[in-house]
Amino acid sequence: MQTTLLKTDPNFHEPGRRFFRDFSPGDDFYEALIEAHNGLTDEQSEALNARLILVLANHIGDLRVLREALQAARAAA
């Protein structure tokens, strides 16, 4: 699927930190994501995910990127 502004290549990173393995920054994020749900009911997890999307969307801010992201997520189902 074509995107113009939305980054779809690996982009997890941490300024000032050196990763010797390319899978490490993504795995760090994924672990933190799953850990954030630890101990929550399914309903609480769903609500957390909604809040997370809203927080991230505001951070991105650029509506063109957000439209592409919505499109990309919907189309990949």
Partner: protein
């Protein structure tokens, strides 16, 4: 059942080991598994006498550890068994990942050219053990079968072992004891030492199947396949037409029931299709834990391999990290035994390998949590990563069906001399050395094969080294801990008495950011200890002292 026949190694009565008072040996290794054997071979290469005690009389029953990663092959190269291992093993680079019926994506393990050894080979553990036994015996290691150590008493400057044999039991002493008796480690338990971590509530079925299949030598991993719904399956090729198939069963599965051929065969038929002929070689059910001992060193007793740390099988970080333990330990132990370094050098074995074990545990735990999600939300994320992976490269990088074993960068090691100069690239102090294709005396060769079993120093030059440089290199060869000088040049040079490594294609220069004058100090286990932009023998000697706790 099966094609492989375990060899029986001869029992030798311990008449020469029994004595009153007990004999004192400089070094005893408990356990003739891959890691204990690697330690014994390395001990011989370091000039140490070594006695290996094993309670069994054969190699591993079943294929067990089947993936040997590039770093292990490089270590085995130094030990002298990588050629037969690679000749018999199956090389593979392509991994395919499936969700239900669809292939999600594939990866290629070796995007990085210019290494002697492939990213991974598959070979049954019993073959690796046979090769290591032959090599250890050839080098003069004393291996005693059916010698079960039943008690160990720790003393300030030695350990006393009680050994049970078919001819009764006896006591023997060791200045140094290396414990390589596996995950259940009877010696660790006997000494009451802690090992802590996480138990995973899941069971897996391993089946080794002999079949003449036309599948390519690739790693195939299924999430939730139609022939085994809601669970994962892994297919791997080993040597001699043996295939490893690994089924996730879930925690409720009955291990005794699931092991029965009448239960296993239908699972295999569902996967392979009904008419493909196959024979079962070995079946095993396993659970696993991710845990490590708090301290790998207890005075004169040193723990290596699974006895010290355990990981989930995803990523092949068990035997591979065990080889790295032996690689890190044995040169240090040799220097201590030979009186060239203080005992505290062995504390750095413990610290550095505990650091590496934590990294291995972290990576294998992450793989396990991805493969076997623990909640509905975790499973949703996993499946949607797979859905996105069909379309987007970022999601492919998140798919975690095992982060295949790579060595740790020991950047925190006390043995490193921190950089004073500026360098690009990954060869930082504490890094495991990158290999490179080179020419030596007009012949094609590899960088790692040039560095040997002791300290070495790479000096990058663009012309014949100056007299001042040659004098400094000579002084390093004559120091209390000799450093072998190696000249790295872009073309053949005549430097009498010194080995010149020709880096015609610039692989070393690029990987090590080498320019004329750049100097690297390399540890005996092929890790970078220090580096500078100019050769200064006094600084090199200080770094050698630091790397040996002197």
């Amino acid at each position: 059942m099966g094609a492989y026949v375990n060899p029986i190694y001869p029992y030798k009565a311990p008449t020469d080991l029994k004595a009153t008072p007990p004999l004192r040996k400089p070094l005893i290794v408990i356990g003739a598994g891959p890691v204990g054997l690697a330690a014994a071979v390395d001990a011989r290469l370091q000039g140490l006498d070594v006695l290996v005690l094993d309670d069994d009389k054969t190699v591993s029953v079943g294929s067990r550890a089947v993936c040997y990663a590039k770093r292990s092959l490089e270590i085995l190269d130094r030990l002298g068994v990588a050629d037969p291992a690679c000749a018999l093993g199956v090389s593979w680079n392509i991994g395919r990942t499936f969700l239900e019926e669809d292939e999600v994506y594939q990866f290629n393990l070796v995007p990085d050219a210019g290494h002697k050894r492939p990213g991974m080979i598959n070979l049954q553990q019993y073959h690796i053990e046979e090769m290591l036994i032959a090599r250890a015996l050839e080098l003069g290691a004393d291996i005693r079968w059916q010698h079960k150590v039943t008690a160990v008493t720790r003393h300030e400057d030695h350990a006393t072992l009680t050994v049970e044999t078919p001819d009764g039991s006896f006591d023997i002493e060791a200045d140094w004891l290396v414990v390589a008796d596996g995950a259940r480690s009877p010696i660790r338990r006997h000494l009451g030492l802690d090992i802590e971590g996480r138990v995973f509530q899941d069971r897996f079925l391993i089946a080794d199947v002999i079949m003449k299949a036309d599948y390519p030598a690739e790693r195939w991993f299924w999430f939730d396949p139609p022939f085994h719904p809601n669970q994962s399956v892994l297919l791997h090729k080993q040597s001699n037409n043996v295939w490893r198939i690994d089924f996730q069963l879930g925690w409720d599965a009955d291990p005794e029931e699931e092991k029965k051929p009448e239960k296993v065969i239908p699972r295999l038929k569902a996967m392979l299709g009904d008419d493909r002929p196959f024979e079962l070689e070995w079946v095993s059910i396993y659970t696993f834990q991710c845990r490590r001992m708090t301290d790998f060193r207890h005075g004169r007793v040193l723990f290596v391999g699974d006895a010290a740390h355990q990981v989930s099988p995803f990523g092949a970080r068990g035997a591979n990290s065990g080889f790295q333990d032996a690689d890190d330990l044995m040169w240090k132990l040799a220097l201590v035994i030979q009186g060239q370094a203080p005992e505290k050098l062995l504390d750095t074995y413990a610290l550095d390998r505990q650091f590496a074990a934590d990294e291995n545990i972290m990576n294998s735990t992450r793989s396990t949590d991805f493969i076997t999600p623990k909640s509905r939300t975790s499973k949703t994320f996993r499946n949607q990563v797979l859905a996105l992976a069909k379309h987007y490269p970022f999601a492919r990088k998140l798919v975690n069906s095992g982060r295949l074993s790579v060595p740790s960068f020991l950047t925190q090691s006390l043995l490193n001399t921190p950089d004073a100069d500026t360098f690009e690239g990954n060869m930082v102090p504490g890094a495991p050395m990158d290999d490179a294709p080179v020419q030596v005396q007009g012949k094609e060769a590899w960088l790692l094969d040039q560095v040997g079993h002791g300290f070495a120093c790479l000096l990058f030059v663009d012309a014949v080294p100056s007299d001042a440089q040659l004098a400094q290199l000579q002084s390093l060869q004559k120091g209390p801990l000799p450093v072998k000088p190696l000249i790295v040049a872009p073309r053949a040079l005549d430097v009498p008495g010194l080995k010149v490594i020709v880096d015609a294609q610039g692989w070393i220069a690029k990987r090590y950011d080498g320019k004329a004058g750049t100097t690297y100090l390399l540890r005996p286990d092929q890790h970078v200890a220090a580096r500078w932009r100019q050769l200064n023998a006094a600084l090199v000697q200080q770094a050698v002292a630091r790397a040996t706790c002197n």
